[in-house]
Symmetry: C2
Subunit: 359 residues, 2 copies
């Protein structure tokens, strides 16, 4: 079996700590399930600026392009706020450089976590949808953009091809899930949203089993709180997706636990937790490692087709949550390392049990 090449971008703030946790779990699961890989650490974000003079150093792009998958933890922090090219710039550019046009975020509320949601239990129970966010166009990349002392301009741009390909990702996903798609736009105001909706209607023709509804982004911001259970796959332009996917994460009450994947045409996916780099708690050994550990599981499942390993990791994670061996943000009193070790123990313990059963 060929070794898989994983590019590792530990980033800033709590990034390196939780990356260490994620990689420890990857190692344990790989030993157990006989998965072979090699790691290629690269500077990125604030760390890219510090180590190589840019948030997205050339060497990192080259390595990323040659990788089978990319693991990123989190970037940014006040230290680099006044840099001409800030850490976030690296994130935008790596998306662009690798053609990572589809950001996919599961929004699932497990029964065991319902108490953690800010929403009342009956509203949120059973919530299970996926947000498909366009990631390499729209307001983030449109030209011209300019900033002067007396005025500023941004451009929102979408081409037909850009809209078609993200629609297909979303509709294909719906077919494998519950055959329901929600299209988000602001087509009562924006020209780009009119095109977005028009192409959605066209693409929908090829998916006769899928029911489609259309929401204005403002109505959607309400519906995510009022009745999140109704959604299955939500397809949204870049800027709206940024806002709505964070809103959706919040209703799970588990922002420290959510992984995401950015996928593109080139076949190299980038996996990352959805939260930020939390510089205020960096270096204290108290950051919640679960998001990064779930991110590793997502990578194993989606890039390497190892749902066995992913499942073992997720089961172990659910076990520590049930046992409340968790960090302070989840109401526990354990540190990053303790939670990670316990998860590894469960992964390994799982083996023992499995071996017993197979006797």
């Amino acid at each position: 079996m060929e070794k898989k090449k994983i590019v590792v971008l530990p980033g800033d703030g709590i990034g390196p700590e939780i990356m260490t946790a994620g990689l420890k779990v990857l190692e344990a699961a790989s030993n157990k399930f006989d998965f072979k890989y090699e790691l290629d650490y690269q500077p990125f974000g604030g760390a890219g600026i510090d180590e190589a003079g840019d948030p997205l150093p050339e060497q990192t792009v080259i390595a990323a392009k040659a990788a089978d998958a990319i693991l990123l933890s989190a970037i940014g922090g006040p230290k680099w706020d006044d840099c001409p090219r800030r850490p976030e710039k690296g994130l935008l550019e790596i998306r662009s450089a690798l053609g990572l046009f589809a950001n996919i975020r599961p929004t699932t509320v497990e029964d065991i976590q319902i108490d953690r949601s800010p929403l009342k239990a009956d509203r949120v129970q059973g919530t299970d949808f996926v947000i498909v966010r366009e990631l390499t166009s729209g307001a983030y990349f449109g030209e011209p953009r300019s900033l002067a002392d007396d005025k500023a301009i941004d451009t929102i741009f979408y081409s037909r091809a850009e809209i078609e390909r993200i629609m297909k990702i979303g509709f294909d996903m719906a077919v494998k899930r519950s055959n329901h798609v929600t299209i988000v736009d602001k087509s009562n105001v924006l020209a780009t949203s009119k095109l977005w909706r028009q192409i959605a209607e066209e693409v929908a023709q090829s998916y006769p089993t899928v029911t489609v509804d259309y929401r204005y982004v403002d109505a959607m911001a309400m519906a995510i709180i009022a009745d999140p259970k109704q959604f299955d796959v939500v397809i949204t332009p870049n800027l709206f997706g940024d806002i709505l996917s964070d809103e959706a994460a919040e209703i799970t009450g588990s922002i420290g636990q959510i992984p995401s994947v950015s996928a593109g045409s080139a076949g190299v996916n980038l996996y990352e937790p959805i939260h930020g780099s939390a510089p205020d708690i960096a270096g204290q050994g108290i950051a919640n490692p679960i998001s990064m550990i779930k991110t590793v599981a997502m990578m194993l499942d989606q890039s390497f087709d190892r749902s066995d390993m992913a499942q073992a990791i997720i089961t172990a994670v659910n076990q520590v949550i049930e046992d409340q061996v968790v960090t302070a943000d989840m109401g526990g009193e354990f540190g990053t390392a303790a939670v990670t070790d316990k998860i590894i123990e469960f992964i390994n313990g799982g083996t023992a049990q499995w071996e017993q059963r197979s006797l």
Copy 2:
């Protein structure tokens, strides 16, 4: 005392019904408190298209400009979806024509309504903030915008003057409230947001008593759910304000009850409920009139300095809520007219009590 001239835009769907309710309450309160006014009904929105061939007929603009205040209920509906100029276009253009650059929305969760919120009680109790949304620029009005079959473009534009004036509205409001301002932007990505934040920092210098914090719009979408109590005055660009103010409305669980005002330099304010025209329940006499009634109260208070009348109306509204004389969307079993009549009864009853006490 001079008669106040109020332009009335009954609009579409449930618009005319709830406008009737609001005006009945205005009449009752005016009789009681000796307030003189005249009404000037004008076609607008879908009704504008039907009656005068355009969502914003010329005559409506002329009347609006000559008014002391404008009452709008709600516009739009599937009937006009294929019109070249749809009802919403009228709304955008009246904002522009009257220079209504500041949309102000209170987000208050009354103790008596906490059960109606989708949020857990401890999260939402005590929430009381105001969203100040820029309303005549940004992504809504920037040029160029174009729509072709293969691509579309919108422009986000802000000038310094546009940003400065909305900042001043927000900071002035904070001084009269709790001296706290939250600035919303996406300055890690958008040029217009960089200018937005930069000018906010400048304006803040003139308000030494006001504490300011800065939020990215995605983080803000989370914070509104996670911890809404922390906010006092929130200042946001047009498009973000559209999304966040609806999200904020939803956490109150009382979207059928929230008024808003759009204010401008010219001195004529436009008052409207924040909800839509709900064509599905139009004409059945079941629409919740409370939003429109509170909108009338807001107008009396802010345009006509009649806080006595506004207070009497709000007290009566709270009374029907307490007595559960409310429409189905609020868990009651009463129709629009019954709720309205009861509110009027309380307004009049209130007099009797007041007179008794003053004996």
